[in-house]
């Protein structure tokens, strides 16, 4: 259907033309252009009256032999949609970008960022060589010196303050392999304080969704949205954050004449295309969802059979929902009952319906509860596990899903094995290291402030410190931080500093650190905002376009990206830097036991094979590098909607594109991957499954296993628990295992062979046999409407810490103060103080933050790209026309936006618009480099300052953390705005 351009003579001629002036060797194209006067310099001077206009020059003669054009495919790094980037490379220089028509995900298209991604590699603002601060001056150092000094310093800190004093902040820009390697390094170093951006974007999604039905990921796919007849987009603005996904959303809307309902405080570019827009007050998602469910239950629109067969404890939800009458919902959220009734009817009756959410739902002190409520809405209407339904969670970075999967998370080892002993032992087996040695790497934590001491083993199993609060763990008194010592060193890989709330506290934290290492293509806010004088290192990392490896898109599809060009300047890949550090720390031999290292660069393929060998729990076992590469080669064969290749294809026959996890068994088994999670209309071998039986088999006399529901072709025709050798023996299926498989299982199980499960069996035998019997290895359970292990088992509304409605706090207070992730969470105290001091009077405007299409995350990369930077040159605040009129603020004028904590303020441009309602302000979160009115450009190492700088919204965002994941609260804060 998609017709690809012939890569014949024609395309060669173009590059012949472009490269005609390219000297042999590795002359950068930009340098070439500059020399030819295309880029730099001025124009014909007016006064000098250059005549004759542009002189004709010789056309490139046909005698010039055409240069070799290589086409490389990688994955766009700017969001989780997973657009294929097709690069044309001549003499090692990336000269052109072509549409990737073959990709079933983006079908040739890009957003502003993807279409400008070539510049990322060429950017003259990149960090070009390692640097360190010497007496406040940036000084060039060699890689050897940098690694040497960093290694010595963290070793010294480790000896003095313990392993937990070094914080390992990873990145969602890592490939799966780099993320996995980084987590492994953290484990070998002896700490669980290994985190990445998922903390601040979808940690609550992962926690909420996984606690509902088993896995914390998007259940369907972008493409599958084309099947939906009703879609609700709540707290998401895909038109700006995931533009290419809108291709599928809008196509679905058009083909099915689907209802597209946008629920958001802000009339976004997405809302402009909606069939219904619901404006809510920030931070009242649960009342809105319960308000919708109220109408659904009231009118009997729920899917009763689905609930009976596949959902646990929906009645507990009914009780909570009953409290949310239309009147109360309107009082709290501002949404009229009639409108919610309309939405409820559409969602429940015009099926299939899908629920799409993003950071508007997750970034709250009640983030996990929000996500849970959204899942429950899907469950109540039976909208899970079928085409066109599901929780379509749009994640933020190219590999934030993969990096989460790989365990860049303070609560888990790779692939969600958790931190329990069994998990450590599993990975010790995969890594072929001694469990005891791993344990010896961890600190013993002394008793302090009335808390018990922790042994090495206990510390090994205790969640680390979240990235949202690393600076609290630096700044707080030592006895408040529940580990051997507060944090002394930050190892920041590919992570901006400005995306975390409470920037002033972060700056204090930066200044209190003994060592700060920033490894990134750009200096980032971490390196540039503070006024540190020494002990700060910048390591130039190449972009992910300059390295091989797989990336997991939001829909769980893995895509193999190949190195487009060699790392530019002196930059090195994450792989290489991790290797060099490990070598310096004396860990290299153990860390790379089964991984080939060539010229200091560990092979991505080998890393993926190791992931395959250990990734049973999440079905990361079947995606071998060879299969993934075959998928990239055969992209055009996959169907646009089902994402499946024809069965008869020799290389990818029957596979779903990118082998979306879970992809069961060993690669040789050729499981096609799972396009739609929990879909029991398909055989497991065709990607069918059920809700994961993750939470036991029974609770309070009710079964937690599915009733009368099972995947197609299953030998077991009712619910069943997850599979272990014990279960296998009962069923007599152990006989189906081969001798080799049994040998491995015996080795794994030792004395307790019955406990060997589908997730710990390194042979893959249990999974293979499960598939043969048509059953899902993780069991066939019920989804939980009541997640009893969470702080709020059934979600309840809680007002934001800084609420514009103090009158509601008495009825809907935030959770009591508690200790979480080794630190106190004093949300309740802060909320009470805010109400007592009547903060809402002085700061009457709700401040919410979000994304712009041109930028991503902390924005250093994208703000350094002139093609993007030109389009958004100034940090701004969206302010409602009436609020602006009241304050005498004109569109485009400078204003001060101030926050309620510590008198912080930011100087930004006013964008007067009705996108936001009265009493609401919106600021994008991508900016940094200005701080409280001061331009900090001078603090960047010369020549590495991003093109555009601006105030960070997080200078004025405030306290508030989700109790389950430590998620911050940047979506419902308060502020005041005045003309500057």
């Amino acid at each position: 259907m998609l017709i690809k351009r012939k890569s014949g003579e024609a395309s060669r001629t173009k590059h012949q033309a472009v490269a005609a002036g390219l000297a042999s060797g590795t002359l950068d194209r930009r340098a070439f252009l500059r020399r030819s006067g295309l880029v730099a310099g001025g124009l014909a001077a007016a006064g000098s009256i250059q005549l004759g206009s542009v002189r004709k020059a010789q056309a490139a003669g046909s005698s010039v032999s055409g240069p070799e054009v290589t086409v490389k495919k990688n994955i766009c790094t700017h969001c989780s949609v997973g657009c294929t980037v097709t690069a044309e490379v001549v003499n090692g220089v990336w000269v052109g970008q072509e549409p990737s028509f073959a990709s079933p995900i983006n079908r040739g298209t890009h957003c502003a960022k993807g279409a400008a991604i070539r510049e990322l590699v060429h950017s003259d603002r990149r960090l070009k060589y390692p640097m360190k601060l010497v007496g406040g001056q940036w000084t060039k150092v060699s890689w050897e010196q940098a690694i040497d000094e960093i290694g010595d310093k963290i070793t010294a800190i480790r000896e003095k303050n313990g392993a937990d004093a070094v914080y390992w902040l990873g990145s969602a820009k890592f490939t799966n392999e780099a993320a996995y390697l980084f987590r492994k390094l953290g484990a070998f170093w002896g700490t669980n304080s290994v985190d990445h951006q998922a903390r601040i974007c979808h940690s609550t999604t992962v926690a909420g969704v996984a606690n509902t039905w088993g896995y914390g990921a998007q259940t369907n796919s972008y493409n599958d949205i084309r099947n939906a007849r009703t879609m609700i987009i709540l707290g998401g603005n895909p038109a700006e954050a995931h533009p290419v996904s809108m291709q599928h959303v809008l196509s679905g809307k058009e083909i099915n004449r689907a209802n597209m309902i946008v629920i958001d405080p802000r009339f976004t570019r997405t809302a402009a295309h909606a069939t219904e827009y619901v404006r809510i007050r920030s931070g009242t998602d649960i009342p809105v969802v319960w308000g919708i469910l109220w109408h659904i239950f009231q009118n009997g629109w729920e899917d009763k059979e689905f609930i009976k067969n596949r959902v646990y404890a929906m009645d507990d939800v009914r009780k909570e929902v009953a409290k949310w009458t239309p009147d109360e919902v309107e009082r709290v959220t501002g949404v009229p009952g009639e409108q919610l009734k309309r939405v409820a009817q559409l969602f429940a009756t015009q099926k299939p319906s899908t629920l799409i959410w993003c950071m508007g739902a997750t970034q709250h002190t009640v983030g996990t509860a929000n996500v849970r409520a959204l899942c429950i809405l899907c469950l109540a209407t039976g909208n899970v596990g079928k085409p066109g339904t599901g929780a379509n969670i749009f994640r933020g970075h190219t590999n934030v899903q993969g990096a989460t999967d790989m365990g860049l998370d303070v609560t888990s080892l790779p692939l969600y094995y958790g931190l329990v002993e069994g998990a450590w032992k599993h990975w010790a087996r995969v890594w072929e290291v001694e469990y005891d040695w791993l344990q010896s790497r961890f600190d013993e934590v002394p008793a302090q402030a009335g808390r018990k001491a922790r042994s090495r083993k206990e510390n090994m199993e205790a969640p680390g410190i979240t990235s949202t609060r690393w600076f609290d763990a630096v700044n707080l008194p030592a006895d408040q931080v529940d580990q051997k010592s507060p944090i002394k060193a930050m190892m920041v890989f590919g992570h901006g500093g400005n995306t975390v709330t409470r920037l002033p506290d972060a700056i204090t934290g930066m200044n209190n650190l003994e060592l700060l290492v920033v490894a990134d293509p750009h200096p980032t806010t971490f390196a540039a905002l503070d006024a540190r004088k020494d002990n700060t290192y910048l390591l130039p990392i190449c972009t992910t376009l300059e390295c091989d490896g797989s990336r997991t898109a939001s829909n769980r599809s893995l895509q193999w990206g190949e190195q487009i060009v060699k790392p530019a300047f002196e930059s090195k890949s994450d792989y290489e830097v991790t290797y060099l550090l490990a070598k310096k720390l004396g860990l290299a031999e153990k860390l790379f036991k089964n991984i080939r290292v060539e010229n200091n660069v560990p092979l991505a393929e080998d890393l993926l094979r190791e992931i395959n060998r250990g990734g049973w729990s999440t079905g990361y076992c079947g995606q071998s590098p060879e299969r993934l590469k075959a998928h990239m080669k055969n992209q055009a064969k996959f169907d646009l909607v089902t994402l499946r290749a024809p069965k008869d294809d020799p290389e990818v026959g029957g596979d779903y594109y990118g082998l979306p996890w879970p992809c069961w068994g060993k690669p040789e088994l050729r499981h096609p991957g799972t396009h739609i999670l929990y879909n029991n209309d398909l055989h497991v071998k065709d990607g069918g499954s059920a809700f994961r039986a993750r939470f036991g088999v029974e609770r309070n006399g009710q079964t937690l296993l599915a009733e009368d529901a099972f995947s197609k072709g299953s030998d077991l025709t009712d619910g069943y628990p997850e599979f272990t050798m014990g279960v296998f023996k009962k069923l007599g299926w152990d006989k189906d295992l081969t001798a080799e498989e049994m040998a491995v299982i015996t080795r794994v199980g030792g004395n307790t062979i019955d406990a060997v499960s589908w997730a710990t069996d390194l042979s893959g035998g249990i999974q293979r046999v499960c598939l043969d019997h048509g059953v899902v290895p993780f069991g066939n359970g019920k989804a939980r409407a009541n997640a009893w292990n969470l702080p709020d088992p059934v979600p309840v509304h809680r007002e934001p810490i800084y609420t514009p409605r103090p009158d509601l706090v008495a009825k809907y207070p935030t959770r009591p103060d508690e200790r979480q992730f080794r630190m106190p969470n004093i949300g309740f105290t802060v909320q009470k103080a805010a109400v007592d001091r009547n903060i809402a009077r002085d700061f009457p405007i709700i401040l919410t933050s979000g994304r712009l299409v041109e930028y991503e995350g902390g924005g250093e990369e994208t703000r350094s790209n002139p093609w993007l930077a030109e389009l958004q040159q100034e940090m701004f605040v969206e302010i409602n026309t009436r609020d602006a009129a009241d304050r005498g603020i004109k569109d485009g004028a400078w204003v001060w936006v101030s926050g309620p904590e510590d008198g912080t303020q930011t100087k930004v441009k006013a964008l007067v618009t009705d996108r936001v309602g009265k009493g609401v302000a919106f600021m994008p979160f991508h900016f940094s480099g200005w701080y409280q009115g001061k331009d900090m450009r001078q603090y960047y190492p010369a020549g590495t300052d991003p093109v555009v700088l601006g105030e960070s919204v997080n200078t004025i965002t405030t306290y508030g953390f989700d109790p389950v994941t430590g998620m911050q609260e940047p979506k419902a804060a308060l502020c005041q705005i005045r003309a500057a």
């Binding site: 351009r5 079908r107 040739g108 004449r257 646009l640």
Partner: protein
């Protein structure tokens, strides 16, 4: 071949949508839903054109003129500029030349009336005045030619000398137009400074006009330093000059004072006034040179024949001689020969 590929790519760009529908037809065979029409209240071109003659929105780049989406006035301006303007210009200029030729052939050259004072000179314009006149005049000629080049160059000149040479010439013309506008405008200011006081209209002018300025019939009506005809020329030059200056500046500094439509209007005015100005100046040149014997000397050497002066500017001559009884250039006043 090439076309074929392009056409197929056209299909790629969007037919996927239809293909999908076909593939997935069974899943969505249900009847269309009652989803409200989301574009029922969406903006459309006709609606916006009813509100405003051009469509204007919001844009994030600082170049705010880019926020104009469509300005159909461009086509109207083009219609005027390419449709009407060449004809208007041609008519004005050729018409004036024709009129002057007709006048010349019917009335002939106005001769100097010889008298006893013939051969005696009186200073009519001092050096600065002549300098001002000539600076303005030379600039005007270049401006006129380079201005006309914008309209007629490609029609008349380009076919003769070829596009490349013409483009070079046009580039010169454009620069000279823009830069010589400044001495021209300065000249206008100087003219106002030195001649304004002599150009205030009064009753004598009325009589001069009633008498037909001496062109019709015999004898000369009274006139001061400048007769009504010259005053008209003065006010025309300064008025048109100012108008050309203002409209020109509006275009020279785009978007400082007016938007695109304002500039279109300015351009229209500039060219219309321009051709009228040129036509009028042609007449002025005619009278100052070919049309009247002795007139040229006023700006040539500055000195005119006293007899000419007396017949054309009798009151001025009286005044000058009264004022400068001991003036070196003037002979003592003698009683008019009756």
């Amino acid at each position: 071949m090439r076309l074929g590929t392009m056409l197929t790519r056209t299909f790629i760009a969007a037919t996927a949508l239809m293909a999908v529908a076909a593939i997935d037809a069974p899943a969505r065979a249900q009847a269309p839903t009652t989803a409200p029409n989301p574009t029922a209240d969406s903006v459309n071109e006709d609606l916006l054109f009813k509100q405003d003659p051009k469509i204007h929105g919001r844009i994030s780049i600082p170049d705010q003129k880019a926020a104009n989406l469509i300005q159909p006035q461009g086509r109207e301006w083009r219609g005027f500029h390419e449709g009407w303007m060449p004809w208007i210009g041609a008519a004005a200029i050729l018409g004036m030349i024709a009129a002057l030729a007709l006048f010349f052939f019917t009335r002939g050259r106005i001769k100097l009336e010889h008298s006893e004072e013939s051969g005696k000179k009186i200073l009519r314009f001092n050096g600065f005045e002549r300098f001002t006149h000539w600076m303005t005049a030379t600039c005007f000629v270049i401006l006129a030619l380079s201005g006309l080049n914008y309209i007629f160059g490609k029609r008349l000149l380009m076919p003769l000398i070829g596009p490349e040479a013409f483009a070079t010439l046009a580039q010169w013309a454009k620069y000279s137009h823009v830069y010589l506008a400044w001495p021209f405008m300065l000249g206008i200011v100087f003219m106002l400074a030195v001649w304004l006081k002599d150009n205030i209209p009064n009753r004598i002018d009325w009589q001069w006009i009633k008498a037909g300025g001496g062109f019709i019939g015999k004898g000369h009506p009274h006139a001061e330093r400048f007769n009504a005809g010259q005053k008209v020329v003065f006010w025309m030059v300064t008025g048109f000059g100012a108008a050309m200056g203002i409209t020109g500046l509006m275009m020279l500094f785009p978007f400082y004072a007016t938007d695109i439509n304002g500039m279109q209007i300015m351009q229209g005015l500039h060219s219309l006034i321009g051709v009228v100005f040129i036509a009028a100046i042609l007449a002025h040149i005619y009278i100052g040179s070919l049309g009247m014997e002795g007139a040229y000397d006023a700006m040539g050497s500055g000195e005119v024949d006293l007899a000419w002066a007396r017949s054309h500017h009798d009151l001025w001559v009286e005044k000058e001689q009264a004022k400068t009884a001991s003036g070196p250039q003037l002979r003592p006043h003698q009683a008019p020969a009756e």
